[in-house]
């Protein structure tokens, strides 16, 4: 399903905001490295979800493809965060 121009613009604003927030957390915050990693990778997964839903039309995907990309986001984020804490 095509998104409205407003929805596309909101998605872009969200992506820009999360990118800038990730940078601030990584470069200027005083939190521990592990928490910082968890935050920026979780933010990446959220951005991935926005791209899938708003730009790639994930809601019109067949079940197998929705499951694949849903799993892909979770696996990528879990692997990167998990190894950082191991």
């Amino acid at each position: 399903m095509l998104q409205t121009p407003q929805a596309l613009r909101r998605a872009w604003i969200g992506l820009v905001a999360i990118t800038v927030l990730s940078l601030v957390v990584a470069e200027f915050s005083a939190i521990s490295a592990g928490v910082e990693t968890a935050v920026v990778i979780a933010a990446a997964a959220i951005k991935g979800r926005i791209i899938l839903v708003r730009y790639m039309g994930e809601r019109s995907f067949p079940t197998w493809l929705r499951l694949y990309f849903g799993g892909w986001l979770v696996v990528c984020a879990t692997v990167i965060i998990g190894f950082h804490f191991s």
């Binding site: 399903m1 095509l2 998104q3 121009p5 596309l8 613009r9 998605a11 872009w12 992506l15 820009v16 990118t19 800038v20 990730s22 940078l23 990584a26 470069e27 490295a33 910082e36 990693t37 920026v40 990778i41 933010a43 990446a44 951005k47 991935g48 791209i51 899938l52 708003r54 730009y55 790639m56 039309g57 019109s60 995907f61 067949p62 493809l65 694949y68 990309f69 892909w72 696996v75 990528c76 984020a77 692997v79 990167i80 998990g82 190894f83 950082h84 191991s86």
Partner: protein, 204 residues
């Protein structure tokens, strides 16, 4: 005569397809390729994270020498290009062909900006003495971002082909497939970078 009428009806139906009724963009074969490609990157993320966990100090030292600002700017360039591409698809389906083509051109132009910034970053990194063989971190840095850059350059070529093919608008189902596959591929390039950027530049 019957066949001609049938063909004309098919083309008319394709041109006036209700965008609200869109099913899977592109075709199944293309999505199989996309999932295989995304899986390859997932394996690269796994291998990078696994190796990083065995020598975190080496990876942290390498990461400190990356130019985070360039990575951030490139992230903003890519998410903006994805916005333009999604808007291009909408415009093409709404018969605003001229605006759609401009947006596709804008997407490709931002792709060129990303590539130029990435190549500049490579030059600066190499000049500061880091090569593929400097450390495991830089091996992964050059390999992962290099494969991604190759995807992006291919994406720019695909967008040029899509723009050229659709210069008169969407004239049939094949044009639709070209547009949807080109857009989905571009969004995949963006999606992959969403993990590459924080994994290489930010996560410590």
């Amino acid at each position: 005569m019957g066949k001609v009428t049938q063909l004309a009806n098919t083309e008319t139906s394709a041109n006036h397809r209700d965008p609200q009724d869109m099913s899977l963009p592109g075709d199944v074969g293309f999505w199989t390729f996309i999932t295989a490609d995304a899986s390859l990157f997932a394996l690269l993320f796994f291998q990078f994270s696994h190796d990083r966990s065995s020598q975190p100090a080496v990876f942290d030292e390498g990461q400190r020498d990356l130019i985070v600002l360039l990575g951030t700017v490139n992230t903003l360039v890519l998410v903006t290009s994805s916005w333009l591409m999604a808007s291009a698809v909408r415009n093409m389906y709404r018969h605003s062909v001229r605006m759609g083509l401009r947006l596709i051109a804008g997407t490709a132009a931002l792709g060129v900006v990303f590539a130029a910034l990435k190549i500049s970053e490579y030059v600066l990194t190499l000049r500061s003495g880091h090569t593929v063989s400097t450390s495991p971190f830089f091996m992964y840095y050059f390999v992962i971002t290099g494969i991604h850059l190759a995807h992006l350059i291919l994406g720019v070529v695909v967008l040029i082909i899509v723009g050229w093919r659709l210069r008169a608008g969407i004239r049939g189902p094949l044009d639709r497939t070209f547009l949807e596959c080109g857009a989905a591929y571009w969004h995949l390039v963006d999606l992959l970078w969403m993990f590459i950027f924080p994994m290489l530049y930010l996560a410590r």
